[in-house]
Amino acid sequence: HLFAYPFEGRLVHEIMAALVAYRISRLMPITFSIAMNDYGFELLSDQEIPMDDAIVYDVFSPDNLTKDIIASINSTEMARRKFRDIACISGLVFQGYPGKYVKSKHIQSSSGLFFDVFSDFDKSNLLLRQAYDETFHYQLEEPRLLNALQRIQNSNIVIKYINTYSPFSFPIKVDSLRESMSSEELGQRIERMKAEVYKDVEQNNGYRNKRRKNRP
């Protein structure tokens, strides 16, 4: 777990977290789960996250900002989340009638399928482009992010290594709206996760199935 507290507001933190995660992921193959709130953000990984006084100022640097932001947005699923609203509004995915709305999970998977199909077969699709545009401009607040990073660059960054969760970390940690980003090779991730699942299954004697109806 890595928790950072810039106190810049949730929207800035969403981009800043992706940016920091992206820059760290360039140092080594690593996979992150990202969460944020108005106080700060969290990077969670199953490996040790490299962070010390030497690299922290580089990772939070305002240099190369636009290029790195573009790269980090493309590595997370922010555009995919934005696309969900676009899919509903444009009529690609039907939300149901008032009083009988379709479960949001179904919309998530349908809009995700459309997102994949457009990304693979129709990159210039206007709806797809809209999702990326909105992620860049609407949420980005790039000047504000730049100011924040400049302020941080001129400040004293305090790094503390602790063994438990601090009071500020808790609301971020339990946030369920998470992004993920990985620079690891897929095969490696699968092998590691397989080993963990194997351990889990041994202990519980079978997959822990939260939804029984999905048994084949």
């Binding site: 996979t31 992150f32 789960s33 969670l44 990984s45 199953d46 009529g91 690609l92 998977s109 349908s110 399928l113 459309f114 994949d116 199909v117 457009f118 693979d120 077969f121 129709d122 699709n125 998470r178 993920s180 897929l186 095969g187 991730r189 699968i190 590691r192 996760m193 397989k194 963990e196 699942v197 194997y198 299954v201 004697n205 079978g206 997959y207 199935n209 939804r211 999905n214 048994r215 084949p216």
Partner: protein, 214 residues
């Protein structure tokens, strides 16, 4: 990836197909030809390229394995007659020596009308070949002494890891009595299955097929 069921050697291809060398048969499921055209007719702008891309991929598989027979375990066509059927007929002409067998699925409604031009053999509920019985839905089983290979489900497997990692992939499922094939068409969703310990699961990634049996 090469593996075996009940002693019979099979090859699982990352392009979502299964090949049985001893029968020289390639098997796919849930091709859903015409799905993108069907969506467009309803006003949803799905790229037209999908159907062609799926057929292209099937062509590559046929070139690779050179099977005598292609079996499709249901849902070859998505809904009603549209131009993707013509695309298929044109594509089919490129493989005149290939025997194509279809076991009808719940989506294969158009076949009454267009069946003659397609030059495929059609079976209503099941087709036997070697030690296997091919059906569309596993519950349609009529042949209890053979190992059942079915489709319809569009199976997917979800791997969870520490640090809230989650990966979802289409997969091949091999249970003790029957198997589930992944949907061949890329324009399909996934139905996540939770296997038992004795079941074998092979996840399909862009890179290769992974054995994720526990």
């Amino acid at each position: 990836m090469v593996t075996e069921i009940n002693g019979e050697k099979i090859v699982l291809d990352k392009k979502r197909a299964m090949y049985v060398p001893s029968l020289e048969t390639l098997i796919i499921s849930d091709l859903h030809l015409g799905k993108s055209a069907h969506f467009r007719r309803e006003g949803l702008p799905v790229p037209a390229v999908i159907g062609q891309s799926d057929l292209q991929r099937l062509g590559i598989l046929i070139e690779k394995y050179q099977p005598h027979t292609l079996i499709i375990t249901g849902d070859m066509f998505h809904h009603s007659y549209n131009h993707e059927v013509e695309d298929f007929i044109a594509w089919r002409k490129g493989y005149p020596d290939l025997k194509i067998i279809l076991v009808k699925g719940n989506h294969d409604r158009i076949l009454a009308r267009a069946a003659n031009n397609l030059e495929i053999e059609i079976y209503d509920t099941y087709y036997n070949s070697g030690p296997f019985c091919f059906v569309h839905q596993q519950k349609d089983v009529a042949c209890t002494d053979k190992y059942v290979i079915s489709g319809h489900i569009h199976p997917g497997i979800q791997l969870s890891g520490r640090a809230k990692q989650r990966l979802r992939f289409p997969c091949f499922y091999f249970g003790t009595a029957y198997a589930l094939l992944p949907a061949f068409s890329t324009f399909t969703g996934l139905y996540i299955i939770y296997p038992q310990k004795e079941d074998k699961i092979y996840a399909i990634t862009p890179e290769r097929v992974f054995n994720v049996t526990i």
